[in-house]
Amino acid sequence: MTVALSAHGVSRRYGPTAVVDEVSLTLKPGAITALLGGSGAGKSTLLRLFAGLEPVDTGEVRLGDRVLSSPSSTLAPDKRRIGLIFQDFALFPHLTSLQNVMFGLKALGREAALAEAEAWLRRLDLTARAGAYPHELSGGEQQRVAIARALAPKPAAILMDEPFSGLDPALRSYVRDAALEAVREAGIPALLVTHDPVEALESADHVAILKSGKLQQEGPAADVYLSPASADVAAALGPITRLKAADVPAALADVPVGHELAVRPEGVLLDGAAPVKARVVTSQLTGAMHRVVLDMGGHRLVALVPRQYAPQPGEEVGVRLDPALAFIFPSAGT
């Protein structure tokens, strides 16, 4: 009975600027779609259009076949059954955890609402905190109450606006896994707005990349990562080094004039036998991998290499590229 939540050519203007510009995006049931983009890209506005918190200027928002928003009418947020999770959690400060979760269960009647809310708190490991007020909860607990509150009324879809960015980094992945597991089990369309590419790749099934209000690319996360449509898309999903055609030695890659090379750091391979040489500027352990900054004929190139292959600063190394992680795009502006 779960159906997709979709946008069809929706736009939203503030004065002359289109914050969301003709975006079409389908959120499939049971899948988490991450919406990525820099600040001001229109991510939150697109979420608000889905939620009905703002009207669309063009296009339609649909739940299955049902039109929720069109330029002529906007179904009120309280009539949509779309759950929202905010960056600041937006828990009601005057209600306890339990009462917060019960807020959306009014239709069930008191007894059933209480049982349902308690079940949700138990599920998110919050039973002991049922009587606590939001200001008495830790950030992670507030987050889980917000998730329980949004999912308890069995919404038709759920929209999350940077829900994890306010959390302590050490806590984040734990809370995120627990939260997204509950979202996934609900089997409904889910949108995760984030500016963190790692978070998007780690937790989403689909990614969609927004820039200046326009949708750049969407698809399964791995597909978009491995075949980005533009250098911007590639950059949105992780660090890249961009080099102009003239700066790339022919022996490294064949970049036609008017094009540029975009390569991921893990696509830069150190190989003593390779004809192209570069000098190591810095070499530093950054977690699982060594990050190596190379000087190749006056141009900077960043590589990520396993620790046991890490070179020393000042060393000269041979360089070649992994074709799966190096992309050639027409230069911006041509």
Binding site: K43, P134, P153
Partner: protein
């Protein structure tokens, strides 16, 4: 006027006195003595025959008058101010931007001024009843007309001038809420009305309670309006016990009852906060997107706000202007009263200013003396002027001093300072609070002694809030009536005393000019306040988070 100026941190106490605590303790003593001497007088001196008379025949009317007035005024204020604040913060309708600050203006006129205007407007000879008689041909005895000279009338008049306290705090309560919480409520299926009742209103309730407590303290402290409208209240009783019966001890006992009531208000306000949090933790502000009320709904909202503004400001002020213009009374006595007012309010403001500065600077030290001084000052702010004046009289009597020469001037300055120092300290404390704590640490790391730090770092910062503080102190002193009546030097009429005297003699035309001058002076800090509020709204200034 400046929010309930209670210190934020009384604890943690560290029982080591700091150098800054000495002056703070002295300021604290100066402020507390009138309050304490009333309590001592009530306990240790016999009440005399007057007390028996008051206790047996007047106590019930006094207590009933005060309680009844407060309850009715609460109703009037809540019914208007809370919806008005909600309309202005969350909706768009014709004139909204103007109403946002117009609705604060009624604070400018003290209760007694509004009472004169409304008593005149609604009286038998007033314009409303005259018009009614002209239209219907009835005589004055042929019909019923609501009388201002009644308990509901007093409650109405006081509420019409004090509702801005509730409006302001309710507005702040609504604005400071996370808009996300309201959006979350909508996404959980709550209608706009249910979102208001179950999310916005409960979250704003502590703020509303704080404003209400402040307004009710002012209402309980009122003497002029109650006296003019002939409604017996405790404050009215205190002044009368002293003036007519010449019984300071009996007055002191009444004062203690009033104090218990005021303390009860403060406790009720504290209690209403409960355990539930009201401050949302959000640091993320979204531009308040106001719901547009179109057509009839928009005009209804505008009419609602206009009604409150008309009742609280336009009608009474225009009536007084009309009476002042119409009158051909000589205005010479006004100049004397104006001069006296400037001298007395000026002395009070200077004295209070020094105390406020000491308390604000000592508060920077966070020592126990400073915290206690701030607590004392804010307690005294809640105490009616009549009670403090009584305390000063008790002290003067104990020292064998009479109200001659410079004694009454000093005593009045003392009472003004005792009552209003907290209001003057508040902007300075706010200015210091806004400055980062690291400033002081930087000064220390550069080798500045505590004294040099106070003088060269904290003082200049505190003084940035000083002009507002000084202005508030001056205007509050100038509006004060009961203490001025009780303590002023012989034949020294201030504007307030003169307005009171003329109004009591039913010479309203003559009372109009001093009453208007007081209101005009009162407008200055009110406009300053509304300007400050409209330029410091977190939700209004944040950019769009697209």
């Amino acid at each position: 006027m400046a929010g309930l100026p209670l210190p934020r941190r009384v604890l943690p106490f560290r029982l080591s006195l700091r150098p800054a605590d000495g002056p703070a303790a002295l300021a604290c003593a100066i402020i507390a003595v009138p309050m304490i001497s009333v309590l001592l007088a009530a306990v240790f001196t016999g009440g005399g025959e007057a007390w028996q008379h008051i206790r047996d025949t007047l106590m019930v009317p006094y207590l009933g008058g005060t309680l009844g007035t407060l309850m009715l005024a609460t109703m009037f204020m809540l019914v208007f101010a809370v919806p008005a604040a909600w309309l202005v913060t969350m909706h768009e309708f014709p004139g909204r931007a103007a109403f946002e600050w117009l609705l604060i203006l009624p604070l400018a006129a003290p209760g007694y001024v509004l009472a004169y205007a409304w008593g005149d407007l609604m009286g038998v000879g007033g314009p409303l009843q005259s018009a009614l008689r002209d239209m219907t041909g009835w005589a004055a005895r042929d019909y019923w007309f609501p009388s201002m000279r009644s308990l509901p009338g007093l409650a109405f008049v006081l509420a019409s001038g004090l509702y801005p306290y509730v409006y302001l705090t309710a507005r702040a309560g609504f604005v400071s809420q996370s808009i996300c919480a309201l959006e979350a409520a909508r996404s959980l299926g709550a209608s706009p009305l249910r979102s208001f009742w179950q999310v916005a209103l409960p979250a704003a309730r502590p703020a509303i309670a704080a404003g209400l407590a402040l307004a009710l303290m002012e209402a309980a402290a009122d003497y002029g309006a109650a006296e003019y409208l002939g409604v017996p209240t405790l404050t009215f009783g205190i002044v009368r016990a002293w003036k007519s019966f010449g019984e300071p001890a009996a007055a002191a006992r009444l004062a203690v009852i009033l104090l218990v009531l005021v303390v009860g208000l403060v406790m009720a306000e504290r209690w209403s906060r409960g355990r539930a949090g009201s401050q949302q933790s959000s640091t993320r502000w979204r531009t308040v997107s106001r719901t547009k009320l179109s057509g009839a709904a928009g005009w209804l909202a505008a009419a609602f706000c206009l009604t409150g503004f008309t009742i609280g400001f336009i009608l009474p002020v225009s009536r007084l202007v009309w009476r002042a213009v119409e009158s051909h009374e000589q205005i010479a006595p006004i100049w004397d009263a104006l001069k006296n007012t400037l001298v007395l309010a000026g002395c009070g403001a200077v004295f209070a200013f020094v105390l406020a500065l000491v308390i604000a600077l000592a508060g920077r030290g966070k020592g126990p003396g400073a915290a206690f001084a701030r607590l004392t000052a804010s307690s005294a702010y809640a105490i009616p002027g009549a009670v403090l004046a009584l305390g000063a009289l008790v002290v003067l009597g104990g020292m064998g001093l009479t109200l001659t020469g410079l004694v009454p001037v000093a005593a009045l300055a003392w009472v003004y300072a005792s009552r209003f120092t907290a209001a003057g300290a508040e902007p300075m404390v706010a200015a210091l609070d806004r400055a980062p704590a690291s400033l002081g640490q930087a000064a220390q790391s550069l080798g500045a002694s505590p004294w040099r730090r106070a003088k060269e770092v904290d003082l200049p910062i505190a003084l940035s809030g000083a002009s507002a503080g000084a202005l508030i102190l001056f205007v509050e002193s100038l509006k004060e009536l009961p203490a001025t009546l009780m303590l002023r030097p012989f034949n020294w009429d201030t504007l307030a005393v003169r307005a009171h005297a003329y109004a009591s003699d039913e010479r309203l035309a003559a009372a109009a000019l001093p009453a208007l001058l007081i209101t005009l002076a009162g407008l200055v800090p009110v406009i300053l306040l509304s300007w400050r509020l409209s330029h410091a709204r977190p939700g209004e200034q944040a950019g769009l988070d697209a």
